[in-house]
């Protein structure tokens, strides 16, 4: 029944769908109003935080002002102040920028490691694959949160860079596994065999044949990872194991809410940051899901 009608549909699609990149993706996003809205939001918010962050003086914002502790939102401070009298609004902007930047950085680094690892393991298979998968399995069973917290706690000369390296070290496995399994499938397809018999070298086959065919998967996965990484970073900062204390972050703002007084009575400290995290993650996820839909339709028969 469905299988059959799907078949019928498939045949008709063969003739009409184009596989070429962006037009399809763009069409899919535009058709999905929520994804379009999310994209506009993301572009807008990034432009705003990166733009204002240039003007804003981070030093000024993180300076303690004992005369302005816990001020409620008002004329002087749009979103009030925290226990150190620091402007929440300013921290929110810089925090969003920092959170976004590190999430993007970690996503790109994990994506790079994951894609290379997955492609090599999947394409060459055999013993290479076996050993690589053992390594991956080990990283995979470690509870991420715990191991990152321990590393952050003991690493000497802790900085934003070491933080992102630690996160990357324990986050590349998901995408690597995914890419590997796709590469395994892909390399059994005849066009790869054909390339081999035509005298194309392995490196060329990996990057010119396999990679373009899994690029949509890479993009979708990285988008979804970006959302997850925003959550992970703010979670770690929330626990106090993310950004160094001097650097504002969305998670740090939320961590003030572990004080019951703040949680109950001083909403302006933690609610805006929560809303920001939620909106960012939802928006990125929406775009990612729309991308996935776009690529799925194409994957039916590229």
């Amino acid at each position: 029944m469905e299988a059959n009608s799907a078949n019928v549909e498939l045949q008709s699609k063969t003739v009409t769908k184009t596989p070429s990149g962006f037009s399809v993706v763009w069409r899919e996003i535009v058709r999905d109003k929520l994804a379009l809205l999310s994209l506009i939001f993301l572009v807008g918010i990034s432009a705003f935080v990166y733009g204002t962050a240039i003007v804003l003086d981070q030093e000024e914002i993180v300076k303690v002002d004992l005369f302005a502790i816990y001020e409620a939102p008002g004329e002087e401070y749009i979103l009030g102040t925290d226990y150190g009298g620091r402007d929440i609004f300013g921290q929110l902007i810089i925090g969003t920028r920092n959170s976004l930047s590190i999430a993007i950085l970690v996503t790109v680094m994990t994506g790079f490691i994951g894609v290379v690892f997955g492609l090599v393991a999947g394409f060459f298979g055999g013993h290479i694959d076996n050993i690589m998968m053992r390594v991956l399995d080990f990283f995979n069973v470690l509870p991420f949160m715990m191991i990152v917290i321990v590393f952050v706690a003991i690493v000497p000369k802790y900085s934003v860079w070491t933080f992102s390296l630690i996160m990357t070290a324990f986050l590349w496995m998901g995408i690597a596994r995914l890419i590997r399994s796709r590469a395994l499938q892909e390399k059994e397809l005849d066009y790869i065999h054909a390339a081999k018999t035509l005298g194309t070298s392995n490196i060329k086959i990996i990057f010119k044949h396999v990679l373009p065919n899994i690029s949509s998967l890479v993009i979708v996965t990285m988008t979804l990872n970006l959302a997850a990484n925003i959550g992970l970073e703010s979670g770690l900062s929330f626990l106090g194991f993310g950004f160094p204390e001097s650097t504002p972050s969305l998670g740090t703002l939320l961590s003030y809410a572990t004080n019951p007084q703040t949680l109950e009575y001083r909403w302006w400290i933690w609610v805006p940051a929560s809303v920001m995290i939620l909106l960012l993650m939802l928006a990125v996820n929406n775009v990612g899901t729309a991308l996935r839909r776009a690529t799925d339709a194409r994957q039916r028969r590229g």
Partner: protein, 338 residues
């Protein structure tokens, strides 16, 4: 006179693509008698499988119009519970790919037993098992007690297809639908499975609808043959007539394009153009006309009908009278992209 088992009248099965319905089976009428094999032959996308699924009521999202009467009773649009009383008991189906047709996580015995359980509640568990073992024996599976407890992936393709057949015939159905039953199998296994189906038919006196694309299988198995093209039946005749005097241009082209293991041909006939997709089917006039452009347009009927040329031999459209193969030199292969 043969006893009518299944009579299909003006059946139209349509699938929804985007916002429109497109008929994959378009105005099909045919009959199947007891103890008779009706082969439905055609290329992929001609609607033969959609037709088989329509008879079994397996399309859940298609629109069905027309009439399918099984032993005199219309089964289009009847309630699911009524349909379920017929399926598995009076009608059985054999699927194309025996691997996917069996539940991978269920023992063979349970899968065959399910067909018995559903239609014969009185059987005790032991009786059911006995019967399943008998069925396994009947379809030629060695060591049935052992196979009873195996899982599909432990059997070879041929054995799996025997299990599927055992399930289909568990309640000795009067009508058996076989959808490309041997396409996924090797040629030696194919001949065994075909022989098995033939023997079972004689045994149970049932009617068989055999869906296939393989003219050899048709010649081996069928009593009567319906040739389908683009959702319609273009020719029906008994098997010898069809193989000796095919009339419809499509039938004739098809016969000429198959390499034959028994006699040598110099060059195969090529049907011009490509099989149109469901959305692009020509719905008016002779559907095969675009693929024989050298035949004068006047030769076709405006609304092609089935004509009874001889008793029992029906052909659609009158163009068969004017059809001839193109001359060698003129036969231009399909150039460029359509």
């Amino acid at each position: 006179m043969a006893e009518k088992l299944l009579e299909i009248k003006n059946l139209k099965t349509s699938f929804r693509i985007k916002d429109d319905y497109f008929a994959a089976v378009d105005d099909v009428s045919l009959t199947v008698n007891k103890n008779e094999v009706l082969a439905i032959v055609g290329e992929s996308g001609c609607g033969k499988s959609a037709l088989a699924f329509s008879i079994m009521g397996l399309h859940t999202r298609a629109k069905m119009e027309g009439n399918i009467s099984f032993k005199g009773e219309n089964i289009v649009g009847i309630s699911p519970s009524k349909l379920n009383k017929l399926r598995g008991k009076n009608m059985g189906m054999i699927f194309q790919d025996p691997l996917t047709a069996l539940n991978p996580l269920m023992e063979i015995g349970d899968q065959i037993g399910e067909a018995l359980l559903l239609h014969n509640k009185e059987l005790s568990k032991t009786q059911r098992k006995e019967k399943v073992i008998k069925l396994l024996n009947k379809v030629g599976i060695p060591r049935p007690e052992y196979v009873y407890e195996q899982f599909p992936h432990e059997l070879s393709g041929g054995m799996r297809q025997r299990v599927v057949i055992a399930t289909a015939i568990a309640n000795e159905p009067e009508l058996l639908i076989a959808d490309e039953p041997t396409t996924a199998l090797d040629v030696t296994i194919q001949s065994q499975i075909l022989d098995l189906i033939k023997d079972l038919k004689e045994d149970m006196d049932s009617g068989i609808v055999l869906i296939t694309h393989d003219l050899g299988v048709v010649a081996e198995m069928a009593d009567r043959v319906a040739v389908m093209y683009a959702g319609q039946i273009v020719e029906i005749a008994d098997v010898t007539t069809l193989f000796e005097e095919p009339l419809h241009p499509y039938t004739r082209s098809l016969f000429n394009s198959v390499p034959n293991a028994k006699e040598a041909q110099d060059r195969l006939h090529v049907i011009q153009g490509i099989v149109p997709s469901l959305q692009n089917l020509p719905r008016i006039g002779c559907r095969f006309a675009p693929r024989m452009p050298w035949i004068d347009g006047e030769a076709h009927e405006e609304h092609p009908e089935m004509h009874e040329v001889k008793p029992g031999h029906y052909v659609r459209c009158s163009c068969y009278k004017h059809f001839h193969f193109p001359e060698e030199s003129k036969e231009e292969e399909h150039h460029g992209v359509s």
